[in-house]
């Protein structure tokens, strides 16, 4: 299962990780987290399901391009970090 770490800025809505989730893509893994913790969804993606503009995701040590992040393929042992992008202030 992939390991998901969420920024400490979100500690009020998601616990210190890592959380574990299955999925072939970043979006799949996040979806699994959201099913367990529906409240987290709106902090990471907007109401249309798009990754928020100032949320960035790292997969296995690489920052993912914003538009392609949710569709990025991951492996069973991938490590993901969901972080605040400093572009957001």
């Amino acid at each position: 299962m992939a390991q998901l770490h969420f920024t400490s800025w979100l500690r009020e809505v998601v616990p210190d990780g890592p959380l574990q989730a299955d999925g072939g893509t970043v979006g799949d893994a996040l979806g699994a987290v959201f099913r367990e913790r529906p409240h987290v969804r709106g902090y990471v993606v907007d109401e249309q399901g798009r990754l928020r503009k100032h949320v960035c995701i790292f997969a296995d040590g690489r920052r993912l391009p914003q538009q392609a992040a949710l569709g990025h393929a991951i492996g069973k042992d991938s490590t993901l970090y969901v972080m605040q992008a400093l572009s957001g202030g």
Binding site: W9, H39, Y43, E47, Q48, R50, Q84, G88, G89
Partner: protein, 356 residues
């Protein structure tokens, strides 16, 4: 008179209360987080605050115990099938429905979505009829990338009649609680448009529209290009001519006296500063025929304070006012705006002030 005040700032919701004849800071909630709108619901005592996390979106919170504890509620959200599939950028204004519509709230957003809740913010639906008006393609942003709704005014005689103002999308009204909408604003003039389009209703930039509670056909507008008054609930408008600057963002309407309103003038749009570094409040008592300018208690030198559209408020008596500035100054008046007392000069930038 109102003895409490919500101040929505860039760094949290800061509450003040009257104490020993003055205003004291009572509590700070959501420290560090921008609060774009705040509301006290006099029908049930609830407090609402809308946060705009820089990274994680806008979130709505409600307190049923005067701010001691807060509960996060679902934020207004654009419908998945809304044209363009927008996402909420910011809740710009939050208002209560009619006195008999307990639990009904309205929210105006950037982009310019209008949302309604009938269960104290527990759930929201987008008023799609306004989003789907064909004129929307001509709307554009005023200070933001997208057009937005900043003024929502239900008619106290019939809350199914609601006037909404959009920057930049003009004045709209509904008489059936949002099922259908009409574009109003005859008489408004936009100098930022080519001359032949200056009177085009759907591209007007009303910075703020407010209503006289006890004479609800009387509405006041601080427009990007001047000050206007309506005596037919926003259908037609007459431009008023104060002696000084007529640019600004905020306006407050006296709750009972149909001829009385307050404004905070600034040098017009390419500057947006107090004239000569001196902050002033203007008032008319006669529907805009004559104007008074008040400066006592306000900074008169080197002031850069701008009062945003939701940051001037008057209480139900028409005697007590409060206003907060972009540079963190907060003042109150107990004599209908004729003199002011500084409450705090060092607050974060202030987006909205609500007396209650």
């Amino acid at each position: 008179m109102s003895d409490r005040m919500l101040v929505a700032t860039r760094k949290g919701l800061i509450s003040f209360a009257r104490k020993n004849g003055g205003w004291s800071l009572a509590r700070t909630d959501f420290a560090g987080v921008p609060v774009t709108a705040a509301l006290h619901d006099r029908r049930d005592g609830a407090l609402y605050a809308v946060l705009k996390h820089g990274h994680f979106g806008s979130k709505l919170h409600r307190s049923d115990d005067g701010g001691r504890t807060w509960t996060e509620l679902p934020a207004p959200a654009f419908a998945a099938d809304a044209a363009g599939a927008p996402a909420l950028f910011q809740v710009w204004t939050l208002e209560t429905g009619g006195a008999d519509e307990k639990g009904t709230l309205w929210a105006g957003a950037l982009p310019a979505g209008l949302f309604r809740s009938d269960d104290r913010g527990e759930s929201w639906h987008q008023v799609s009829a306004l989003w789907n008006v064909p004129e929307r393609e001509k709307w554009f942003g005023g200070g933001y990338d997208d057009a937005g709704i900043h003024s929502i005014s239900p008619d106290p005689r019939d809350p199914k009649r609601v006037v909404v103002a959009i920057s930049c999308g003009g004045v709209w009204d509904t008489r059936d609680a949002g099922a259908s909408w009409s574009l109003q604003g005859e008489g408004l003039v936009a100098a930022y448009m080519p001359p032949e389009l200056a009177g085009q209703k759907e591209t007007q930039d009303p910075h703020r529209v407010v209503r006289c509670v006890e004479a609800p056909d009387v509405m006041w507008m601080q427009h990007h290009c001047g000050i206007f008054r309506s005596s037919d609930a926003g259908v037609t408008w007459t431009q008023l001519k104060p002696s000084g600057d007529d640019f600004g963002f905020a306006v407050a309407a006296h709750p009972r006296q149909a001829g009385t309103a307050w404004f905070v003038p600034a040098v017009k749009d390419e500057m947006r500063l107090p004239r000569d570094g001196a902050l002033a409040v203007t008032r008319t008592l006669d529907g805009g025929k004559t104007w008074q300018t008040f400066r006592q208690g306000l900074p008169q030198q080197d002031a850069y304070d701008l009062i945003y559209r939701h940051a001037l408020d008057v209480d139900e008596t028409g005697v007590r006012l409060a206003m907060g500035s972009t540079t963190g100054g907060l003042w109150a008046s107990d004599d209908a705006g004729e003199s002011w007392r500084l409450i705090n000069a060092h607050l974060p930038p202030i987006y909205a002030v609500r007396l209650y």
